[in-house]
């Protein structure tokens, strides 16, 4: 029984040397920096205004980096054993698989629509129409 308790103690407190205030503060600063970075696409200095996909890819990269920092350091996974792969890799595969499986039916739902849907669905031309109506009404769109 003492072995059991000792082992448990070791498992629970093997992280005594891990973590540490310095690391947590460093991660916090990095997270704050990255959050500000996600607004970089809004700044006038952003060169890819005409390709929103670049902006989206950049924002997802920032999010994934932030997520990795939280998972690895705040959730202590950096110091955990190989079971972390058993949990994370299948879940990641399933998440990716889900998105891919949804693309044909849901992602591409507007590529071939019925007459009835076509009558009722919103289009970019509706946005233009509303903009024009706004300009016609007030000149600058505000009262």
């Amino acid at each position: 029984m003492t072995d059991h308790a000792a082992h448990d103690h070791a498992a629970g407190h093997a992280d005594h040397a891990h973590g540490g205030l310095g690391k947590y503060i460093a991660v916090f600063v990095a997270l704050c920096f990255l959050t500000t970075m996600s607004f970089l696409t809004y700044s006038p200095a952003w060169p890819w205004r005409d390709q929103p996909q670049v902006g989206w890819a950049f924002m997802m990269a920032v999010s994934c980096t932030k997520a990795m920092l939280v998972v690895l350091f705040f959730m202590h996974v950096w110091w955990e054993a190989n079971w972390k792969y058993v949990l994370t890799i299948p879940a990641a595969m399933m998440a990716l698989f889900l998105v891919i499986m949804l693309v044909p039916d849901i992602g591409m739902r507007n590529r071939m629509v019925s007459q009835e849907r076509a009558i009722h669905m919103a289009r970019p031309s509706d946005l233009l129409l509303l903009e024009q109506a706004g300009d016609a009404g007030h000149g600058d769109g505000a009262h």
Binding site: A14, S38, L98, A122, R123, D126, L130, D140, G141, A142
Partner: protein, 323 residues
């Protein structure tokens, strides 16, 4: 169970695990399957189900949003990126405070641990409060997850015009409109006077049998104009329409792509807010314990859940606010 449960004193290490050579008595061998405590294992198993839950929601949101022909811009739906960013910052801080609470508890600084735990609770509550404020901003503009409270129509077409006509034809509204018409101009604000004139105009337009799509667009713009880029958060930049001047009127509005947006936004942020609330409940309960090394495991597990909630928000924020 193939491994023998009893070791005979003369065997050295045959049962595997931690045999230290007993002398004359029988020992039960126990070999943990994984190098982590049961509580932590269960919490991670639960978190993997939560990962699947949110992956399903986020994955479908991504597919729905990028497959849509039109999607409202943040300023069309009164979504404020700075508020979202501040909420992100609040949750990141709360993740730091919960980690600090754990460190303090492991070092047997129970008072400090309690302080950090209370800070986490406060920051989490701040997050929920800001969320409530954001929700209120949507509700006050007729943006709800579903009808009948939701006023959103997809196009400024005849069906929209007929919906506006129906609303204007409701008995209670007719009475209030009559009252409004009879109110002298001095009793109304400048906004309301302008709105009253606009209201006369649209009443004529929706009743006109020869109405065109452009006229319906003008009606929609008068009732709830889509704010122009740079209008930003609420305040001076916020364009006003008839629905703003007379909140009781609640005329149907047009936001192309708005219904899908509202459904996904409220579902994602709603489920996330419920998870935040559950986390806060757990922290409130933990505050009743003595936060020392004996309870460090409990705090760690609660912390794991809380970090996960933060993680979900880290993905939600750009997907909902910035894309």
């Amino acid at each position: 169970m193939s491994s023998p449960a009893i070791s005979i004193p003369t065997d050295h290490g045959q049962a595997g695990g931690h045999d230290d050579g007993h002398h004359g008595h029988v020992h039960l061998q126990y070999q943990p399957g994984l190098p982590l405590s049961r509580g932590k294992l269960i919490m991670w198993l639960f978190l993997s189900t939560e990962i699947m839950f949110f992956a399903a929601l986020l994955g479908s949101y991504i597919v729905l949003r990028f497959g849509a022909t039109v999607w409202p811009k943040p300023h069309h739906v009164h979504l404020s990126e700075p508020i979202g960013a501040f909420n992100t910052f609040v949750l990141i801080c709360s993740s730091v405070t919960v980690v600090l609470a754990l460190e303090a508890a492991k070092a047997n600084k129970t008072g400090l641990a309690k302080i950090w735990m209370a800070a986490t609770l406060a920051l989490g509550s701040l997050f929920l409060g800001i969320k409530a404020y954001e929700y209120q901003a949507k509700f006050s503009h007729g943006i709800y997850p579903a009808a009948p409270h939701g006023l959103i129509h997809e196009r400024p077409d005849l069906y929209y015009g007929s919906a506006v006509r129906s609303r204007l034809g409701e008995p209670a509204i007719i009475d209030k409109l009559k009252e409004l018409d009879e109110t002298p101009a001095e009793n109304l604000t400048a906004d309301q006077r302008a709105a009253r004139t606009a209201l006369q105009q649209i009443r004529t337009m929706v009743a006109d049998p020869g109405q065109q799509a452009f006229e319906m667009a003008v009606v929609a713009d008068q009732i709830a104009p889509l704010p122009a880029e740079g209008a930003g958060s609420h305040g001076d930049g916020h364009a006003h329409g008839i629905n703003d001047a007379f909140p009781w009127l609640r005329l149907p509005i047009v936001i192309p792509g708005g219904n899908m947006w509202a459904s996904t936004y409220f579902l994602l942020t709603g489920f996330h807010a419920v998870h935040v609330a559950v986390g806060l409940l757990v922290f409130a309960i933990l505050l009743g314990y003595r936060l020392g090394p004996k309870n460090a495991g409990m705090i760690e597990n609660a912390g794991l859940y809380w970090h996960f909630v933060d993680l979900v928000w880290i993905f939600l924020f750009p997907l909902l606010y910035l894309f």
